[in-house]
Amino acid sequence: MRVQALVLATLIAGSAFGQSPDQNINRVFHFTHTQAPQSRQEILNMIRAIAEIQNATVDNSAGILAVSGTSGQIAMAEWLFYNMDRPANAAPPDPGALQFTVAGASNEVARIFYLTNTPPPQAVQEAINAIRAVIEIQRVVAYNASKAIAMRGTVEQMAAVQWLTPLMDKPAGQPTGTNSR
């Protein structure tokens, strides 16, 4: 009996050690279209907040952004980086490419919205404040160079933001009436 218990404990311990936790991966991204240090810092802040990566740095002299995290975090960082590091006059990407499903979470997504009529940066910040206050999304970050807002939340929260964003992103003096959801 005692031997059986010992064997069982050994098996359990062995299987636990055998589960390799998602190991940290190091990755370096090279800035191609983003030259301004402030813009690079905004991309760094976005990756830290949305991909939840603490270990991320920018080297302006080398023009690189280095991150360290799990494979899921790195995948999200890559998605964010290449959606932000784009030519200044580039058209917004295909809307289908602007959503990223968080690894291992069925109801959590990251999403990027582009504002077209909102002059940066104060008005972009107002839009972010509205999203935080009304839809209760904590992780919302702006990239002012392309007037992009990246956020992370539930599918339902993203649907609410998708409804709200065009209603906030209107030229001054144009809107009238009310909209409901």
């Binding site: 107002e126 404040n129 009304v134 709200l164 209603l167 906030m168 809107p175 009436g177 409901s180 959801r181």
Partner: protein, 162 residues
Amino acid sequence: MKGIAPRSGTTNNIMRVFYLRHTETPQAMQEMVNLIRSLGEVQRVVVVNGPKALILRGSADQSALVDWLVQQLDKPPAAASPNTTAVAYQMAADPYSPPVVRLFYPSHIDSPQTLQEVFNMVRAATKIQRSVSYTPTNALALRGTGDQIARAEQILQERDKP
């Protein structure tokens, strides 16, 4: 576009966007937000200054009250007073919240300071907790029981004389 639609299968979670037409300054818009927060007990209400959008998330009752408040408050100053002395809104039955919301437009109180003095007097005499002065249209907004509102009206009639 008008109408109310529930959010994701619940009638207690409605989002609305109101575009203000006659409320011009950021300060006036913020006063309106403060009034809505206080009288409507609505926590999730913000204003976006560029498109002059007031964004709300709340229950159907809150949404209906805010709709009424925006219609009453978002007026040119000359249109809001003095012809209308008071307008009232009856809330849906709720044992935890005072049922009557009323806006007063005093005809002869024309300075913000005097309005504030009358406002303080009404609040002290009636013990109404939810009361806000709204300077862009020189209005007093109150929410209380029927008795409290009647007492407030009496005080205002006594004070609002040439």
